[in-house]
Amino acid sequence: MRFLRAIRRNGKATTGAILLAVFVLLAMFPGLFAHKDPNAEIYPRNLGPSAQHLFGTTGLGQDLYAQAVYGTRQVLVIAFAAGLFTTLIAAAVGVAAAYLGGTWDGTLNLLTDVLLVIPLFPLLIVIAAYVHNSGTVVLIAVLTFTGWSYTARQLRSQALSLRNRDFLAAAKARGERAIYIIAVEILPTMSSLLVAAFLTNALYAVLFASSLQFVGLGDPNANSWGTMLYWAQNNEALQAGYYLQALVPGAAIALLGAAFALLNYAFDEITNPALRPVRGRQRTRRLAGLSRA
């Protein structure tokens, strides 16, 4: 498919893809990579890195490496789920607003704008604090609810520029219903933008989820990088000199975020041909055709 080719062609995207693949493997088969129980508080506390404990141990006596590996799953689940749902809702709202126009556009826009204006992070904190059950599902729901508006705006702009394409008028003229046109005619032509939006939203989900957990609004007993940071903070790890307790989850978050961001380069390329690498490989036959009015 176009996507795979674009990823292979672009060095940054390939790096991102490999990185993401590594994380996915860690998430799916943590037992293969870490042989200790991440929750067992049986080890000596605050150890530095050694042969038995690759990254050392936490203030509670847990193995840091095992925690990092097992924590990948929750983070990825949140990233993919929140990214997916956010993008889906944004697509539905944004494209519908653009295509239907009129009062639909007005109402949906109003809804989008209201959510857009409210500062995201404070809203997240308020909602998360209010909802007492702070499990994964709730986290995903909260992230989705607060995150879709930005992407909706983006997708609406893109759909607006497509609205006057003749094939949409042709679809309407042959009698297709609006829902069909939005789902089958418009959305597929925006596929690269949708994937790019998904990657961006996944990235932000990772960051925000970890931040929420860091301030203690997640389940402190869950296995996640954000909670690792929470406990590191609790333990005053940085002040005491146990740097790895904070660095390891921090670096993991940064690397996963980087993976998503790097992958995004491939999709920028698809949607904007001007960004494609110039050396040698380009579809320039179209340039000749463009000389026609």
Partner: protein
């Protein structure tokens, strides 16, 4: 000839400016014409003349601000139910101008035709749909193997043929062709123009051919409607109109068409042409009076006060009558009606505005 479609005083205005402005753009004003069975009618005019808006009004993409359109005797504004809407869009499909944006790049070219068949002829099975898709592709001159291709693999001319195939799939009575060849190379245009005459002759379809190119209109059409600034300037059998245009605008249009086979224009003609720099107006909140007035060299007082109406030229009937009296073949049948919206022409003066 039986009348297929008739427009009576069709009008469409657009509100422009911000929400507080009360300005209206008169895209189409009081347009009346008819299209019969098995005929190709050319609707010619420059951009801003309203011809595309007329097409969209006929396709029910816009609702008229005034007037009505009758299809097979029944007003199309009465079409409410989904079934009737589908039926109408099947009988009066539209072919669009831009071959590069009229097909969805994500799907194969068979997608549009198959969807049309699915929506409009639900009685067909999947296999019958495939067969029918192949049939219409062949009628328009594309091989059946083209069905599996993607739009970017086809040339502009081939994509336009796909557009016609889609229109044909519903066994239409009237195809609305909105500048179907304007964006194609000159050498390819003839192929599609020939296709249109073939559709009229062998498939019995009428076509409303919207264009700004009078020469191609002459090549395919039986009758010509000339539009200017939202109104009809002149109507008639195409050979008659081109041989003897009555409206000054028609004369201007004809004089401006470059004819490579004609001798180069004289220095005098060129000098006259330098002075002619006007362009069709955007008709916003117009006042009464002829809209061609600013560019017309033969205007009279009344042209500035009263908007001319489209009327049958009585002179035609008289000429036809005199010809019959002299034993010559008269052409005064219904189809030979010439109509003109110009005070000067209607007063019987032989207008010679532009050479």
């Amino acid at each position: 000839m039986t009348e297929l479609l008739r427009a009576d005083n069709l009008t469409r205005h657009f509100k422009i400016g911000g929400t507080l402005s009360r300005r209206t753009l008169h895209a189409v004003d009081d347009v009346s014409f008819s299209i019969g069975e098995r005929e190709i009618v050319a609707l010619a005019g420059e951009s801003g003349s309203g011809k595309s808006t007329v097409a969209r009004l006929l396709a029910r993409l816009y609702k008229p601000t005034g007037g009505q359109v009758l299809f097979e005797g029944k007003p199309i504004s009465a079409i409410r139910s989904r079934r009737d809407k589908l039926r109408y869009s099947g009988q009066v499909p539209m072919v669009f101008q831009d071959p590069f944006s009229s097909t969805n790049p994500v799907f194969r070219v068979s997608h549009g035709v198959l969807r049309v068949l699915k929506l409009h002829r639900p009685e067909l099975s999947a296999r019958e749909r495939q067969a029918e898709a192949q049939r219409v592709f062949e009628v328009v001159g594309l091989g059946a193997d083209m069905l599996q291709r993607y739009p970017h693999e086809l040339s502009g001319g081939q994509r336009q043929r796909v557009g016609f195939a889609q229109a044909l799939a519903t066994k239409p009575k009237l195809i609305l062709a909105d500048e179907p060849v304007s964006m194609l190379d000159v050498s390819i245009r003839i192929g599609l123009l020939n296709l249109m005459t073939k559709l009229r002759d062998s498939e019995g379809v009428s076509i409303l051919y919207i264009t700004h190119d009078i020469a191609s209109a002459r090549y395919v059409a039986d009758r010509l409607i000339v539009m200017y600034a939202g109104q009809i300037a002149e109507v008639g059998p195409i050979e008659d109109v081109l041989a003897g245009p009555k409206h000054p605008y028609t004369q201007l249009l004809l004089s401006a068409v470059p004819d490579p086979k004609a001798p180069p224009p004289s220095a005098a003609a060129l000098a006259a042409a330098v002075g002619e720099r006007g362009e069709p107006p955007k008709v916003i909140d117009p006042v009464p009076g002829c809209r061609f007035l600013p560019r017309c060299p033969v205007s009279t007082d009344i042209c500035g006060k009263v908007t001319p109406e489209l009327r049958v030229l009585t002179a035609t009937r008289e000429i036809a009558g005199a010809a019959a009296a002299a034993g010559e073949v008269a052409v005064a049948t219904d189809e030979a009606t010439r109509e003109v919206a110009c005070h000067v022409a209607q007063s019987g003066v032989d207008v010679k505005a532009f050479s």
